[in-house]
């Protein structure tokens, strides 16, 4: 499996998209830390950018990479390689390259300017989101027949999690504001990895005081040990379930 991942990685590095992604993250992080006096303010701005950009790039890049390496996958299938290993090596290669981009582009500036618990939870969120959205992208690419559909679905999924979902939650909160919704919003947040990441970082910051009663409840829950376990567990589920589903589909697929 490592052997194959090596070739996947080699192919990705040559395409230069990953280099551009690294440079972009690095520039944004550095300029934000330099522009803002207060490093926690910079982290907050950085958080908003990461929550949008990391899922988007992970989804689109993975989908395009999958369709571009279709030939490679086909070639490997005629070799003594199991389908599971082929797909997992692809996954390994893609996540490894995206993660190293993220860790160089965001990790280094954060370690230099804000090496505290907020900074580390920002990195943790970024790493989780990379894994989660790469898994989701693999699922869509394996399911969709052609490249255009695959990219379309990927964009739709990103759009849903990054924008539509929050709108839906607002709608629910607005319509049912006569009821106690604190527990319900807790569950709803777990259904969106981006929200989960946002909450777990916000609560480490002072801004959570602005969130009123809900914020207090969140802080009570996510601040505790079981809350951290909950976050990690849900993130893991978001990583493993789509990948497992993708593997199942891929094993039965005609190529």
């Amino acid at each position: 499996m490592l052997k194959l991942s090596k070739y996947v990685l080699y192919d990705i590095v040559r395409s230069k998209v990953v280099l551009a992604y690294t440079a972009f993250l690095f520039l944004v992080s550095f300029s934000l830390f330099n522009m803002e006096e207060n490093s926690s303010k910079a982290i907050l701005s950085l958080l908003n950018i990461i929550l949008i950009v990391v899922p988007l790039i992970s989804m689109i890049f993975t989908t395009i990479h999958y369709y571009n390496s279709y030939e490679f996958i086909e070639l490997m299938l005629s070799q003594p390689m199991s389908r599971r290993i082929i797909l997992l090596s692809e996954y390994g290669g893609v996540t490894l390259s995206l993660l190293s981009s993220f860790l160089i582009g965001v990790g280094i500036p954060v370690l230099l300017y804000s090496p505290d618990s907020v900074g580390f939870s920002l990195l943790f969120t970024g790493i989780c989101l990379t894994f989660v959205f790469t898994s989701l992208a693999f699922l869509t690419s394996v399911k969709a027949r052609d490249k255009a559909r695959g990219i379309g679905f990927s964009l739709l999924i990103w759009f849903y999690f990054a924008l539509i979902y929050d709108g839906l939650i607002l709608l629910i909160l607005f319509n049912f504001n006569d009821y106690p919704l604190e527990k319900a919003t807790l569950v709803l947040s777990a259904l969106n990895p981006i929200d989960l990441g946002r909450i777990s970082i916000m609560l480490k910051m002072d801004v959570s005081a602005l969130m009123g009663y809900t914020g207090a409840l969140y802080k009570d829950f996510f601040g505790s040990g079981s809350g951290i376990l909950f976050t990690v567990g849900i993130m893991l589920l978001w990583i493993i379930l789509p990948l497992w589903w993708a593997l199942r589909v891929f094993k039965k697929k005609d190529l």
Binding site: K3, L4, Y7, D11, R14, S15, N68, S69, Y70, E71, F72, E74, L75, M76, L77, S78, Q79, P80, M81, S82, R83, K252, K253, D254, L255
Partner: protein, 261 residues
Amino acid sequence: MIRIEHINKKFKKLLALKDINAQFEKGQVISLIGPNGSGKTTLIKSILGMVKPDSGKIFFNDEPINGDPSYRSLIGYMPQIGRYPDNMKVGQLFKMLRNIRNVAADRMDEELIEKFALKQIFDKPMRTLSGGTRQKVSAALAFLFNPDVLILDEPTAGLDPLSSEILKEKILKEKSKNKLILITSHILSDLDELTTHIMYLQEGKMEFFKEIEQLREESGELKLGKAIARIMKGEKFNSGWIDKMFVLKDSSREIKNEDHA
């Protein structure tokens, strides 16, 4: 070596394979023939595990092929259209497959690499290669690991006459080593010298699977193409495509003769 039992495969509404049964043994050269879309490539891909049949089983050395991919280390496959990673250089491709297959260097068969002079293009990226050169790369890869079974999907299509002759000689040589070779081709004259068995597919159905001697006896024809045409006519199969092919061939021959004159 390979046993196929009641294979069925549907693509959406299209019936690609319909209850195929066959057994292939060492030393045989089996020609899969039939019109376009008759299921030849689907059958080959099913044997390779790239297409999953809806029902039925395929056995390789009496082991059902389901899950464990190790049987493929005994197969050399030359696809109809060789598709390779665009950015990879020819040399890297060979290196990578060697790395993956892990076959000892002295068991490797580099004859085709030498005869097709592929070493000279080792530093060219795959995307710059012409269709014929790609085909040569595919052929060299299929034979490289000295496999017991060779599966060749239209091996001579797109090759120039010289290269196609080299490839045919190579196939004959491997045949004499008691290997199992599966070939699909529309160029029946190519198969004439190679084949021991004919399997004829039409619309996903296996119309017959016969030894070539038997076929010749039954039809009274020595040439494979004519023998098949005769058999099909006798059994009232739709042999239109073969007739057409002969008309085309004859007319092209006439044109050539006129040129010579």
